[in-house]
């Protein structure tokens, strides 16, 4: 038991979620002959890429000890801009979308930094407000892509691999390296793990948080643009509830809400677990709603396991 514990806790190389991902993978391969095919795996990656990109940024923000509830709304705004501004040219439309994401992230980050208001509240406000912006901009209309290059991009492949999957995996790799290898990434851990120590050591906490909010805003916008290329359209309600899925994926991946702990590899595992579950159950023709129940159950199970692994907290007092 102790060795299992230390193995799971050590987790430096393998996050527990990956055991689950592999188990799911094996299970569905056995249950459905169509599951284990290149086409289906590409499918899973493409389907996963949207929540996946959101989760990359969210991981940074959550390691910081913050949270961002506005990612779904930001995604929706970016998608609407990317489609709606196409008359001005594709480049303009895409750049404007990405810029919008960065600006919203910066606003969130600045408010958290300068006012000290809890990130949960700040981004809850932003979530409601940005959704309002979408409706103001779109006048409650859905937009359809007029530029065929835009739609083609969403369906394009390089060799056998879909471009969207490649972009997602490339971003994952970059974010993994930034978190592991750069000063910014390491400071992100320090700020979330022990803010006072980080401040004493001269790390600029506010600036670090601001950058991470900008990162999550950027990725939300990127996810929105890519989702729009997939759909060839945008709707004003696009991205609703995505923040909940994203947080679920990140928490499944072992990132703690209290900050200072988490990894991109874990988040990738969390995102894939959800993606495989959805895809596999779809293959087995289980109605989509069961996935919701199973996902909730898994999330709580992960939480219980995590708590059991970290029992000796708070000096062992039953308080």
């Amino acid at each position: 038991m102790t060795t299992l514990k230390s193995f799971l806790r050590g987790g430096a190389f393998i996050q527990p979620i990956w055991i689950f991902v592999i188990a799911l993978f094996v299970f569905f391969s056995l249950m459905s002959e169509y599951f284990l095919s290149l086409g289906n795996i590409n499918n899973i990656l493409v389907q996963t890429s949207t929540i996946g990109l959101l989760a990359l940024g969210m991981t940074y923000v959550m390691i910081n000890g913050n949270i961002d509830l506005s990612v779904g709304a930001t995604l929706g705004l970016a998608a609407s801009l990317a489609v709606g501004l196409q008359p001005l040219g594709l480049t303009v439309a895409v750049l404007a979308s990405l810029a919008a994401g960065i600006v919203i992230g910066a606003i969130n980050g600045l408010i958290v930094w300068k006012t000290g208001v809890n990130a949960f509240i700040v981004t809850l406000g932003a979530m409601i407000g940005v959704r309002g912006l979408i409706f103001v901009y779109t006048q409650e209309q859905s937009f359809y892509a007029s530029n065929f290059a835009f739609v083609d991009f969403g369906a394009s492949t390089i060799g056998p691999f879909p471009v969207l999957a490649i972009i997602f995996l490339a971003c994952t790799l970059i974010m993994h390296l930034v978190l592991k290898k750069t000063g910014h990434g390491r400071n992100t851990f320090a700020v979330g793990g022990n803010p006072e120590a980080a401040m004493d050591a001269g790390i600029r906490i506010g600036r670090n948080m601001l950058i991470n909010f900008i990162i999550v805003g950027f990725f939300a916008a990127l996810a929105g643009v890519l989702l729009a290329t997939q759909m060839g359209a945008s709707t004003p309600n696009l991205g609703r509830d995505y923040e909940l899925w994203t947080i679920t994926a990140v928490v499944l991946g072992g990132t703690k809400l209290t900050g200072g702990h988490g990894s991109i590899s874990g988040t990738l595992g969390g995102v894939l677990a959800i993606g495989i579950l959805r895809n596999g159950m779809n293959m087995m023709q289980v109605p989509a709603f069961y996935v919701l129940v199973i996902l909730g159950a898994i999330l709580i199970t992960v939480l219980i396991i995590d708590q059991r692994l970290n029992v000796p907290t708070a000096k062992g007092v039953r308080a």
Partner: protein, 336 residues
């Protein structure tokens, strides 16, 4: 230097006399804001302050308000409840669907029992297992949404004979000229406010939210108290489902989607801190009403309904920020 500090200390003391007024204004700041915004809207629209308009707004706000009453108790106890939106869908679908099958009385009883059961699951996981309330209720949000869809098979439900059931009372009737939903909202708010302010139970919840460790060291049964807050929250959701089901006489599967966040917005706007240990029901009532009146006022002024979301964004952050800045300046100066 020492002397400068002395001067500062002296200044603080003389300020103490004004502190009473200031803290009153701070505590009632949201009320002041409420009155000012009402006044502003009434300048733009004559209709706004009419009795019928006010009643309409309050009636519309009552469903979110009823839920917010329960969630406020959870938050005062230092936790969160994000599952109320899904629970509302679940309970509404349940009561509407069962209405024709087992009769209104039984349907209502079963619905309350099932909703309280879900509340008990939340309460058990958070109170006794001591899991993080945000993640647990997030997981429950997803799981319950799934349960609703499984139960209904993805179909919307409705009551066949809508004109001929006393079930309509909860959503459509008036008592003494006041809509039943509004009465229910008011009644729940008053009862819960009284419980929180004047009973030992309320005191314990405040203590747990303020300092859970000290509460346990004072012999308070923290797990039971936290557990009970989720039962209260579930009970309020059940009441809201009663109103919603009765008003619509039917239900979509996702009718409560996003309610958890609107409820939170109302509570935060009212000035209840998410940190726990502080807050009140009447603040929440005002917060919820402000959201309702902003929406209504903007509509009357000719803006689309989504304009209120932008305004909500700004005022939530302003309200919390000003509150925080005030507290830093006047309450926490004595701490290093």
């Amino acid at each position: 230097m020492a002397s400068a500090e002395d001067v500062k200390q002296g200044f603080m003391l003389s300020k103490n006399q004004r502190a009473g007024l200031l803290s009153f204004l701070s505590a009632q700041g949201i009320l002041v804001f409420f009155l000012i915004s009402m006044l502003a809207f009434s300048l733009f629209s004559e209709q706004f302050l009419s009795q019928s308009n006010i009643m309409t707004v309050v009636r519309q706000a009552s469903i979110i308000g009823i839920i917010a009453v329960g969630v406020t108790v959870v938050i005062i106890g230092g936790n969160l409840d994000l599952s109320v939106g899904s629970m509302l869908s679940f309970s509404t679908v349940l009561v509407v669907d069962l209405h024709d099958k087992i009769g209104p009385t039984n349907a209502i009883l079963v619905m309350f029992a099932m909703t309280l059961l879900i509340g008990a699951v939340n309460g058990f996981l958070i109170g006794f297992m001591r899991l993080n309330s945000l993640i647990v209720t997030l997981a429950m949000l997803s799981a319950i949404q799934g349960l609703v869809l499984i139960y209904s098979g993805g179909q919307n439900v409705d009551i066949a004979n809508q004109g001929d059931t006393w079930f309509a009372f909860f959503g459509r009737d008036y008592v003494a000229g006041i809509a039943v939903p509004v009465l229910l909202f008011g009644l729940l708010a008053v009862i819960v406010q009284v419980v929180m302010s004047f009973t030992g139970y309320g005191r314990r919840i405040f203590a747990i939210g303020g300092n859970p460790v000290a509460a346990v060291y004072s012999g308070i049964r923290k797990n039971w108290c936290v557990f009970s807050t989720y039962l209260i929250s579930a009970f309020c959701v059940a009441c809201a489902a009663l109103v919603l089901g009765s008003r619509v006489m039917g239900s979509q599967n996702n009718v409560g989607q996003g309610y958890e966040l609107l409820v939170l917005a109302g509570i935060i706007l009212g000035g209840t801190s998410l940190l726990g240990g502080a807050g009140s029901i009447w603040k929440t009532v005002i917060g919820v009403l402000i959201l309702g009146f902003i929406q209504n006022g903007l509509l009357l002024m000719g803006y689309p309904y989504y304009a209120q979301w932008l305004v909500t964004w700004v005022i939530i952050i302003l309200a919390v920020w000003l509150d925080l800045a005030y507290k830093r300046k006047h309450l926490f100066t004595t701490h290093s």
